[in-house]
Each structure stands twice: as structure tokens, then as C-alpha cells.
Symmetry: D2
Subunit: 349 residues, 4 copies
């Protein structure tokens, strides 16, 4: 159940509502969402009469949400969540494209890619500074130096920065340089980290765990929302199935399901979702056709020399061709792109 | 390895080639495909010099195919397989739509649906006469009576019939009434049935096993192809994953993979693939965007009264709206529909 | 719901009960199980008062079974099902061992193995005559010749024959030579076959589908039971998971679950369940410790020359060592073996 | 490849070996394991002649390990790893039992359980102080107060403490109170945490990720080992499969596989692995029969009032009965328990 308190209540008045809810033997969880005082109630008897809450002083509205996730649920919030990132809208009718390399590798590399993105109208750049790798013997990222280069390149080409927070110990520096903080697939159930991200004022992109059910994904989003940060983007990045001939299976079927269950925007990462560059474009198109709100694409100025994820990174000209196909598909499903693709789209040389 | 023999060899000449191949200690499998004599060789040493075969009298060409499936492989046959079903092309540039109820239930039902399909330009009707159900206590289909009604309705409205052969014991009657014989997900590894279907001259639609790897699916196709029937259509219908909140997960990512590995046409069944009607259209669009060659859609004149699969059957007007969206998406990926959607598409009353 | 009719009702009296049940708007399914007339009722309202049935003339007892499987459920039959196969009890307190090669390959092979089994007290021999293989280019079995050799070897060494019915078209010959008919993993949902096997008077060993949920497995057993054949043995043989480094994962955890849900005996096949011979013994021991009622083990006189499944077949001396370890473990869980292991167990030379 | 350097090399001599290895164009990773200087080499050409390394000054031995995990591999270390925890041996021939509640809830609770464990000869107590829960609205643990109570109870009853480190931010306090630090299933791929745990001198119990392949699990162990901490215990706790009717599926088949691939001890957690108390004992027995080196069991003085995981916690008398059955099974597989079960085992009142 979600209880929305009236606006402009004094602290004492809020306390009074909470006391009365407790008196009803309900387990309550107070939060501020979008500057409004709300109360999430996780368990309540099946025959509970919610009018008992509606009649309390200070209560504006009550929504009966029986899903284990409350604030993430479409039951209480019908309209899609949208928010602004430095002048660009995320969610709603918009389709956003985030692109860039797996990892920041050098100044030359990241500036070259940033320039190419800018020339093609892209508004968001991605790049990893801390790389979680399954082997301790491989490239682990440039750390804070990578963050600085990414920020500089983004600023020069008017891009917004999306980068991963790999551990709470680097929260401060990632917060400083990023516009959107990404939670990786291996951290989707790192509840300590999610709780902290509920307290910040920047958007969080929450990747789906590689074997996480949709309900679990929404419960992880609930951790962030219940801390008061409503700027959450979900990102599907491929699940693990019985078919070992593929690295991951991009769960395109998740997009319409998320749209039914939640008001949160959901993006697609067909690069990790397929693991091979020539499968990226078909799956990007399929994601938009199925209802995704955005794309996260790995593109590299020189994929064959990339220090990580080279095989799944697009060449710049492949990326541009993909963007040109996305546009009419977005149109069919009633959406618009955040970029005006130039008449003569150009792959950086 | 696939060995193509020269045309117009006498039986004796063919025998001579086979003898020479056996003398090379190769395990050979002779077949006729598309009226050509070919030999599939399943195992051969890694350092085998294939020129030893090319030089044999009677051999026209040799393809080194190391995948366990040979005839299904794109390695030896680059161009997509196409074939004709009563004047309509399957495969290649074409996108086909097969539609109809889960099961034939009555004359009124099947004629009403057939009429609606015809009015909207559809060329193929589906309908089950034998229903494999997980419970012995539920509706099991109309059997041969259903087949007859399906055929009559199809003939009246110029439709081609796609229906399932549920067991070899009904092969003769299904063959008599069907234009395309469908192998269901539970029979994908029924090798006895696949072997028999290699001997017929009608197309076979081979649904993917609900937990079958792509390689296993192609091996099942190989059973049909190696018997001499090259008219095989693959059909993705949703796989089983760890996420129990969904009945099946339509594996949209399979379409580009099949296109890489095989020359066979591959269709999508978003009705079984999602299990819920409001998810069918997004997944149909996504399938075409990802490269599928056709759709298999459950549509019913009265879904809420359907004896089976009602919740996943589209209402006629939903079906028509879906068709209208498919067309521009097909165009983006360079494909055309087998139907010319009328300017004023009509849902049957 | 399971309704047990009184004994010695006339055909007319039975018809009268059925009519009255139909009048209550219940979907009824009449069957004979263990020579008793019973009625399975698959759907009934949640608030249905079952006393309305108890009071009908001709009804002896009524069990409220809400699981989708009825006759397979422990809800209505608390005590474990046991039955006799030529003097040996299956189920209950007993632990049975079935052993033999994957496929019958030659007279010499099958007699050699049968002799070794007999010398070690084993009572059941297995061997395939029809081999379903994923590739059409590999060994497909000796067919009826294999069945005859298997029967002869069994008769000479006082063994009972367990062999697979791969397709309904070979039912008559398999029925003639087998004591227990095995349904393979790929046929677990072949409902046509299951229905026919409900009409025979020999036991059926139903292997679990490689991706079948336990409920689905019990529903398949229900097909056989509802036809009137109560001699069903379940057999776990390894499931498919996300871990591609193993062929199958023997689901040892299924044994206690089956024991909770059903009264049917459940065996373990650690040979297919692991795919590698040195993992067979640990998994056989684990299965018995977890509650399995029997073992199905592949053993071969010459595993390295076996035409199929060589790598998972035990050498005779490994098999004997395994049996020696099984005995004390069976004792810990309160069970006894159907074999008295000779003091000096012998591997056949 | 694992290169073992000679003992008592000076720092300069070690540097010289590393320089020479680098000159061979090898990617090297220096570590100290068990007080010996070693070098792990992750990639090397397939035709590399390892004698070139053997002949270097300062090199004692070289092992060619081609698995992606090196130090965790049985290829270079044949004998099982054993180590001592306050007088009790882990690994080798020994079977250890760790038991206790899911979470520390109160002084009374944890002392009551500790006493019961002591009375039954158990040497290790478990208990969570920080609980990662999928819902932000449920009990999150007693934190450091819980750790203190756990330590006090353990000290009073001569038990060793096993508890989870849920986030790096609590490493110092967990290190202070624990004898073995447990990494939970959701942190198995938290490479930041694993790297830090490679630098401590206390054993780490690494639970398997709920969808992690065995190779991935060993790669995570490699992170700890390559930091210089060789005291790693693996713990299987149930994997996620397609069967949603069970919470987890304890992968008993993993035990023999781990034994083949690695020298590390591997424990079983049948409590999380089954999720229901009446399935715990059969799966504990099965685990030991399959080759597990230890058990991790949830037991509670009052399971029905437990704040978390009540349904999977054993009652004390069930726990004692389980221990009595473990002993003879351990004997069959040639193992001994770390506890001498008293003649009259007692469940605490």
C-alpha cells in the first residue's frame, strides 16, 4: 500500500500520521519521493479496509499495491516516469541512445569516440573506469583517471556521462564525474549499494542481474526509490539460459512486461545482450519495436584493438547505420528519438 | 562435409562414387535433396584433404561443413531457402503470416475466422485438430472432423492450411488435409516422426523444443532434410527460463543467430511465446525487426469462449491493428509482406 | 477429487453414479485402477461440499485432491505404491538396481554383461534396441534383433528386462520382450504414447523430461494411471541448467520432493545424469541417501568400444564396488537392497 | 601456468625472475601463497616451451595450467587443501559441521543455540548480523551488536564463528569477530570484495552464486587465492533452474566435479539449498555421500518464531537426528567427522 500525505504538513503532523498508522498494527516505511511525503506499507491483511487510512487527517490518497514492490509499481502510478538530464528528457515518449566504449582506454580513444557521437547527434556517452572482470589477471580499468577523461570528452562535445559505480568505496568520485550512475548486473542485488543510491540526487541506471526474475529487478529498484531517489532507469542486458552457444540471451520479452508492471523507463543493452557485433543492430531494432525506452550501445573507434569487449563493439559506421534504422521503427510504435539524425550522418575518421 | 554429385549420373555411377568414398574410410550418408544426389559425411579427420574427394569421377562440388548439422548449414548453402505453397512464396525476401485459432472447435467458429483472415489478405490459416494437453482431463481436440472443417473453410476462402501432426499414427490424415505439417515443441526430438517427415513432399514447420539449444533444433531439421525433404520452416515459440513469472520467453535473439547458421526460413509464434494477448503485438513487431521470416498468430472470433489458449488469442481487431504495424517494420529491414493490406482493413463481425 | 466406487457394482449402477456426478456439473473422468472403479474430477468449485458426493449411492470414499495430478498424488494415497515384477518387489522399503549397456550391440556383448550382472546378484537388465540420437548420421540400434538377444540373455541369467519404447509403432514388439517398458526423456510429454501405456498390464518406467518441472512429470504419470495402469516408476535422469560445462545435472533434490507429493516409486539414473563414468558412483550413493527407490546404471563389458554412451558406462569392477557402497547407505536410510551381494563379488572376465 | 620460485630469494632476486619472465612477453601476476613466492601466467602461446622458464635462475618448479583459474586448479596442486581453524582441521579427510540460526536475533536466542550445539559436539556456529533481503521493508539484521553476541556465545561454548561479510564497509568489524568470513551468493562476483579478502589471514567461505557456473565459482576463488590467502572454502547453496516449484535446487552433482577440478574444500548448505526444513536432512546425507567436505545447517531454538528463514531451519532434535545419520555415511565414503557425537545426543531444552 502507498499512502500519499498532504503537501505542506509540518514535521509534527507527519509524525502524527505515522503514529496512527502504527496504531493500526501496520509495518510502515516512511519516504520522500519527488518532494512528497509518502508511506509504504509492505504487509497488510487481505481484508483490510483501506478507508480506515483514507479518513486519517493528513492523508491525501491511498493506493492498494499488493505487489511486493510498491513505489516501482504501475498500480499506484499510472503515468510513465520521466525526468530531465541536463536538458534531455528520459522516459515517456522519448527514445534515448547512450553509446561509447566498454572501457575508457586513453585520451585519444575517448575523445575520438565522443566526437563521432556528437557528430551524429547522440546526447549520452558511456565508458567504464572500473572494470569488474571474471579473471583477476586481465585489464581492470583506468579508475579515476578514466573518469576524468570521460568527463572532459563529454564536456567538450556536449554529452552526458553514464558510467558504472562498481563499489561503494568509489561512490564519491563516480558521483562527481557522472550524470547517470550505472549499477552493473553483478551488483543488482548489492542492497548496501542500492540503499546508498537512494540518497543521491542523480539518476541511477539499474542493470538486470543476469539471472534475475523481473520481480527481483523491480524489488532492487524499490530499494532506490524507497530511499527517496525516483530517478531510476531499468536496463535489460541479457539473461542466462540453458543455451550455452550464446553468451547471453537479450530478453526482449521483458520490455512489454516491465511496461505493464512499472512506470519506470527501461532501456536495452544489445551489446552485452548478444556479445557479438553483427547481432547488435537486429536486437536494437527489436528492443525498440517491443517497447524499450532507450538503447545502450558499445561503439569503439577501433574495436579490433579494444582492451575489453571488442567483439561486441560496433564500428562507427555500423552505429550510424543502426541509428538510421531505429528512427522509422520508433515512429511505428509512436515514439521519437532524442537525436535529430543529420541528413548526412558521418562516421568519425 | 557435403558432396554434390553431378547431374544425370546413372545408379551405377552413383554407387561407384559411394564406394570410393567408403574406401577413404569415411562414414557416408546418401540423400536426394532438391532432386540432386548428395552425400553427407558426418565425421572426417581434421587434416583431411578434401581435394581427394573433389577429384573423384561423378563429384561436382564439395563443401567443408564442420557443424554437426550439414544440410541445414549456411556453410554449404549461402542463399536463403525459398519454396512455393500454392502460389505463395515462403522465405527469401517475403514475410508470411499464418493465423487462426489454437483449436478447431466448430464449423461456425472456423468459417468465421477464415472469412476474417481472407478479408484482411491473410494467406495461411492455422488450427489444431489434435491437442496435446498436459492434463488428461481437458479438451483433446476434434481429430479428423476438425481437419475436414479446417480444409473446407480454407478452400472457401483461398487459404493454405497449417496444422499439427501430433503422432505418426495420424500422418496419413494430416497429410491429406494440410498444406504445411507442423511439428509441435514436444515432438521436436521425436526422431521417428522427423525421419518419416523427411520422406513426404509437403513443407514441415518445425517448432523449437521449449528447452532446445539452437544446435539441437538444427539437428532436428537435419533429420528431415537428410531424408530428402528440403521444405523446412523453423518456428521459435518461446523457451523456458528461470523466470517463472512468465509462461515462456520468446527468444527473439534466436532470429539473427539462425540467419547466421542456416539458410532455412524461421518464423515466430508470439502467441505461445508470451501466453498473454496484450504482449503478442509488441513481440510480433520485435520478431520481424530482428529478422524473422514470418509470424504464426493465434486469433479467435471469440477468445473469451475459446476451448483452449483463449488468453493468448488476439481479438480480430487487435490482429488487424498488428498487421498494419508489421508492414512499415518489414520495410525498414528490407522485407515485404505476402499480403496487401486493404486500405480499410476489416475485422469480421 | 478422486471418487472410489463401491466394489461389485453392476455396469448399470456405475452408469448411475456417473450420471449423478454429471448432474452436479462436474467434469468427470472414469477409470479402473487396481481393479477398482474410480472417477477423477479435475475441476470443482473451491467451496464445493464434497459430502454431496459421499452421500451418493455406490460411492465408497471421496478424496479432495487439489493438485492437477490426482491419481499420482500422495493426498489420496498415503502409502507408497509397490508391485511385483516376476517375484521382485518394486517400491516400498526395497531398493532395486537395473543395470546393463546403453544399447544391445551383439550377442557376445549382451550375454557377457548379463552373466556378470547375475554373478553379482542383480535382478534387472537394461539395454536399448532403438536408439534416438540427436544426429541422423549415427548408430540407431539393432531394433527387434536387439530385443530378442536381450530377452534371451535375461532368460538365461534370470534377469528381468527393462527397455525403451521409442515410438508407438514398436509397442507390440517391445511389449512382447520387455518386463518393464521405459519411456525416454524425449517422450515424457508424448501424450499419445502415455495414453496407450495406460492400457497395458506391464510396468512403465517414466523418465523425467530434461527440462520438465516436477508437476509436469507427475501429470505425465497421471496419463498412464488414469488409463488404468497403476504400475508406474518415475526415473530422474538429469536436468538441463545454465551450466554448460556439464551435460546434465542429476537433480538429487527431486527425490525428497517426489516422496512428499506422490506415492509412486522414483529411481535415479546417474549414468545419463552425469555423462561421465567417474561421477556415477558418487551420484548413485547420493541418490540413495536422498531417498531414491532404485538405480538405473549403465555398465558395459568393454566401455571404451561401446557404440554409444561409452564414456558414461561403468567398467564391471567399478559397478561391483559401487554396489558394495550402496548397501550400508541404504541401511542408514532404513532400506534394503533387492540383491544379496555375494561375499566375494566378482567382475566378469 | 604457475611458477614456483625458490625459497629464501631476496627481493632483488625475485625482481630479476619477474623481469626475465616479462622479457618472454608473458603477462605475469606475482603473488605470495602459503609463504611462497609464486607467479601466475594467464595467457601463453599453445606451443610455448615451458623449459624456457624452468631453466631460469630462481625458479623451482613450473606447472602448465590451462584452465582460466590457476591457483584453484587441481592441475598444479594434487593434494586437497587443508587448514586449521583454532585447532580444528578443515578439508582433507575431515567432515565439518557449521550450524546456527539464519540471523542473530537476541542474546537469549544465540546463547541457547550455542549451548545446544556444544552439547552435541559441534565446533562451528553460524549466524548473520547483516541480512541482505530482497525487500527493503523487512528485517535487516542486528549489525555489530549481533556480531558481539555471536562472539560471546561462541567463546562461552568453545565454538568457532562463521558469519557473512555483506559489504566491504563492514570488513573491519566482521574480521574482528569472525573466525571464518562468509561471502554470500549475491557477492560471489563482487570482485572488489574478493580482492580485499585475498589480503586477510582468516579463512573465507565462498558461496556459489545462485546462477554461477562452476568455472565462474573457481574464478572467484582465484581472486582470493591470487591475493595470497589460500584458506578458501567453497560452499554450494542451491542453484536456480527452470523449476519454479522449488526455491533453489541444491546442486549435489557439483561435489564430484569440484573434487576433480580443484583442491579446495567444498561444503554444502542444504538449508538454503532446499528452503524447507523437512528436505534438509535427505540433502545433507546426499551431499556427504557425493563427496562434500562439510555442512552448513540452519538450526534455531524456535524456528516458528524466527525473524528470517524459519521454514528452512531445523528444530534442535531434527538436527541431532541428522548428525547421527551423517556419521555412518561419512564412514562409507572414507571420511571422519570433526565431532564425536555423544552416546546420548541431546537437544537443548
Amino acid at each position: 500500500m502507498i499512502v500519499i500525505l498532504k503537501e505542506n504538513l509540518s514535521k509534527k503532523q507527519v509524525g502524527e500520521v505515522l503514529r496512527q498508522l502504527s496504531d493500526l498494527n501496520l509495518e510502515i516505511h516512511n519516504a520522500t519521493l519527488n518532494d512528497r511525503n509518502i508511506v509504504a506499507i509492505s504487509e497488510f491483511p487481505h481484508d483490510f479496509d483501506i478507508r480506515r487510512i483514507k479518513l486519517l487527517d493528513g492523508v491525501q490518497d491511498v493506493f492498494e499495491v499488493r505487489e511486493p514492490y510498491k513505489l516501482a509499481s504501475r498500480t499506484w502510478k499510472k503515468e510513465p516516469t520521466t525526468f530531465d538530464v541536463k536538458g534531455i528528457t528520459i522516459g515517456g515518449n522519448m527514445i534515448n541512445t547512450i553509446a561509447g566504449p566498454c572501457a575508457v582506454e586513453s585520451e585519444e580513444q575517448i575523445f575520438s569516440i565522443a566526437k563521432m557521437l556528437h557528430q551524429n547527434g547522440v546526447k549520452f556517452i558511456r565508458g567504464g573506469a572500473y572494470k569488474p572482470r571474471t579473471s583477476p589477471y586481465t585489464f581492470q580499468g583506468m579508475a579515476v583517471e578514466g573518469l576524468k577523461l570521460l568527463r572532459q570528452a563529454a564536456d567538450q562535445y556536449n554529452l552526458r556521462v553514464v558510467t558504472e559505480i562498481i563499489d561503494l568505496s568509489v561512490l564519491d568520485e563516480v558521483y562527481e564525474y557522472a550524470d547517470i550512475l550505472q549499477v552493473g548486473t553483478r551488483n543488482m542485488m548489492n542492497f548496501y549499494m542500492l540503499t546508498e543510491l537512494g540518497n543521491i540526487d542523480k539518476p541511477v541506471m539499474l542493470k538486470r542481474g543476469m539471472s534475475s526474475k523481473i520481480t527481483e529487478w523491480l524489488m532492487s529498484a524499490e530499494y532506490i526509490l524507497s530511499g527517496g531517489n525516483e530517478k531510476v532507469i531499468l536496463c535489460e542486458r541479457g539473461i542466462r539460459t540453458f543455451d550455452s552457444s550464446v553468451r547471453n540471451t537479450l530478453d526482449v520479452a521483458a520490455f512489454p512486461i516491465i511496461k505493464e508492471l512499472s512506470h519506470l523507463p527501461v532501456f536495452s543493452d544489445p551489446s552485452h545482450g548478444t556479445g557479438l557485433r553483427h547481432r547488435v543492430t537486429p536486437m536494437a531494432l527489436a528492443s525498440i519495436a517491443a517497447g524499450a525506452d532507450g538503447l545502450m550501445i558499445e561503439v569503439h573507434n577501433n574495436p579490433e584493438q579494444a582492451l575489453s569487449d571488442g567483439p561486441q563493439s560496433l564500428f562507427p559506421d555500423q552505429f550510424v547505420t543502426m541509428l538510421e534504422k531505429i528512427k522509422p521503427i520508433a515512429h511505428v510504435v509512436g515514439r521519437t528519438l532524442d537525436i535529430e539524425i543529420p541528413n548526412t550522418a558521418t562516421a568519425a575518421k
